[in-house]
């Protein structure tokens, strides 16, 4: 039997990063304040001292510039890990990501690979107000050519980077600031994880709760509460937002016949709208009830705690929604 250790989400990322840097000389980390500051969220704290300035590069505030440079370095034989401090600032680099990283392979008729890994912190939950609380997963997930990973668990925090670095194509890893201090047990031999499949985190027979990112632990805890009331919910972590693994959630819906999709991102044109329509297209006759969604309220996220919390689905909302689907 393998042993487990208690680890924070932050530490899991750091271990993955350190291991990557140890394994391959072509790998280097570049980003704002990743070195001397110790990482905006202390994920890369100590790595500059361990690996030196060549491998851990502090960059100026030039998101379009350094993300573009990361793409260029990947084109020319390096394996950069580019850290964009948060998705809010990642907007400044969208042109490079969408117009260069995602298209070069296609536009060059298959000649040019862009094996860049871009790590981005994301999400709401620290009262940072509208400009610092975005959930841009749907934005990235819309772009063919990108692999988009959403890190909803500690296992994935530990292992996704490793696999992403093997990808010949650009990978966006979306990390969640609000989870950094969260401690969980993971197996001590945790390493590389698959980055093509969604995962059934908890199996159940009554309803499929489909989610990603910060929704994963929230939905698991909701499922525990529901279990106490005799409702057996299945929880699915999508993990890979592009290309989407529909097999896993379609199979789940075929088993439970009910689905609730949970996300923090705004409702319109979101991940949940995509999942919902795929269920409609491919599993309509499996359904005993219409698909329901819990999403972010469509408002720029306000600063005060009570309004911030009202902007995204909470555990109590999930429990309530499931009960309403099962006992209409």
């Amino acid at each position: 039997m393998s042993q487990t250790i208690k680890i924070t989400y932050r530490e899991a990322f750091k271990q993955g990063l350190r291991e990557a840097l140890q394994n391959d000389d072509r790998i280097f980390l570049m980003g704002e304040d990743v070195g001397r500051y110790g990482g905006a969220f202390a994920v890369s704290k100590g790595l500059l001292q361990e690996f030196g300035e060549e491998r851990i590069m502090d960059v100026p505030l030039s998101e379009s510039g350094f993300v573009g440079a990361g793409i260029g370095a990947a084109l020319a034989g390096m394996k950069p890990i580019v850290e964009v401090m948060t998705v809010n600032f990642g907007l400044l680099a969208m042109d490079q990501i969408v117009n260069n990283a995602a298209t070069l392979l296609h536009m060059s008729g298959g000649q040019l690979n862009v094996p860049v890994v871009i790590r981005i912190s994301c999400g709401i939950g620290q009262q940072l107000a509208a400009q610092h609380s975005h959930s841009w997963e749907p934005f990235f997930a819309q772009v063919p050519g990108l692999v988009v990973l959403s890190v909803g668990t500690h296992e994935d925090a530990r292992g996704m980077l490793h696999t992403a670095l093997q990808s010949p194509d650009p990978v966006i890893i979306i990390e969640y600031t609000s989870m950094l201090n969260l401690e969980k047990e993971i197996s001590t031999d945790m390493g590389a994880v698959n980055i093509t499949k969604a995962k059934v985190i908890k199996s159940g027979k009554d309803i499929s709760i489909i989610t990603y990112g910060t929704g994963v632990y929230k939905c698991l805890e909701s499922a525990d509460e529901l279990a106490a009331e005799g409702i057996d919910a299945e929880v699915i972590d999508l993990r890979v937002l592009r290309p989407l693994d529909e097999e896993t959630f379609l199979a789940s819906v075929a088993k439970t016949h009910r689905a609730l999709i949970v996300e923090d991102a705004w409702r319109s044109v979101s991940i949940s709208s995509e999942i919902s329509s795929r269920i409609m297209e491919k599993a309509f006759y499996e359904l005993d009830a219409s698909v329901k969604r819990l999403c972010g309220v469509e408002v720029p996220i306000p600063y005060p705690l009570h309004l911030e919390q009202a902007s995204v689905p909470q555990k109590s909302d999930i429990v309530k929604a499931v009960k309403r689907i099962i006992n209409p």
């Binding site: 110790g38 009262q127 107000a129 610092h132 005060p304």
Partner: protein
Amino acid sequence: MPKTKSKKIDLDAKKSRHLFYQMLLIRKFEDKAAEEYTKAKIRGFLHLYIGEEAVAVGVIQALTDDDNVLCTYREHGHALARGMDAGAIMAEMYGKQEGCSRGRGGSMHLFDKSINFFGGNAIVAGHLPMAVGMALASKKQKKGNITCCFFGEGAAAEGEFHEAMNLAALWKVPVLFVCENNLYAMGTAIRYSHSVQELEKKGAAYGVESSAVNGMNLMDVIEAANEAVQKVRDNGKPYLLVCNTYRFRAHSMFDAELYRDKKEVEEWKKRDPIPEFQEFLLKQKIITEKEIKKIENQVDSEIQKAVDFAEAGTWEPIDQLTEFVYSENETK
């Protein structure tokens, strides 16, 4: 250490006292904000301006009420210097609906249209192009006012800084760019973010007139700002004023300050703009020790009033969550 020189500018006694009052108000207001933060009355990000007060006070005194002001997330000082009510700012940081932005924005998003204070932008350099646009609108409407835009040296590495400088010069619009060079962008020292560290040199490439000033000395800033503002007003063209300064506190309340030496901070504290200006006023016999005490007391009571106002403030009802996403009325 540069000493206060006697200046060409004359400040009458009333204005001098007012400026001293403003600097002290900013300093003590922020000390209070930091205290309230540790009590979790204020949450989210809180970026303190302590050490840099001479810049906001020195530049904003040169503006008229009709001029526009745009700032970063480190803008409590600018808001106070512009005359925003301390209570409205404190209430905003508490997240109360009596705050200047109804509590929706918090510390990083102070707005007050009635005094042409256009905030509070938390995306580094995001407000520079907007400042150019506001100046363009002034020009098109022949309003005669100017737009003043504050930002850090870190922002000057962003493409938006360079685009804004070029556009402003190309279109000949009345905008004053004020770069507050406090030597660090979060933990990144200027030598790691700028190939040319004399930031005023960046003006020449775009045909924007520029100069640099000791931002730790109020009289120096006033002189430089008066001159820069006059130029922008007279010839309708952009100007880049670099104020060399230092932040005494951490970048935000989350910063462990691993990137700089405590000794360096202590050295800079010897150049604290507030005691320096106080000494200058005393030496020039513009102010007496007794008056200083009186001003200190006034500041303390204004801050207490602000905290009381914030404490007494109310939470916006949750059913109003989706307000202000679209306008109810047609634009005027």
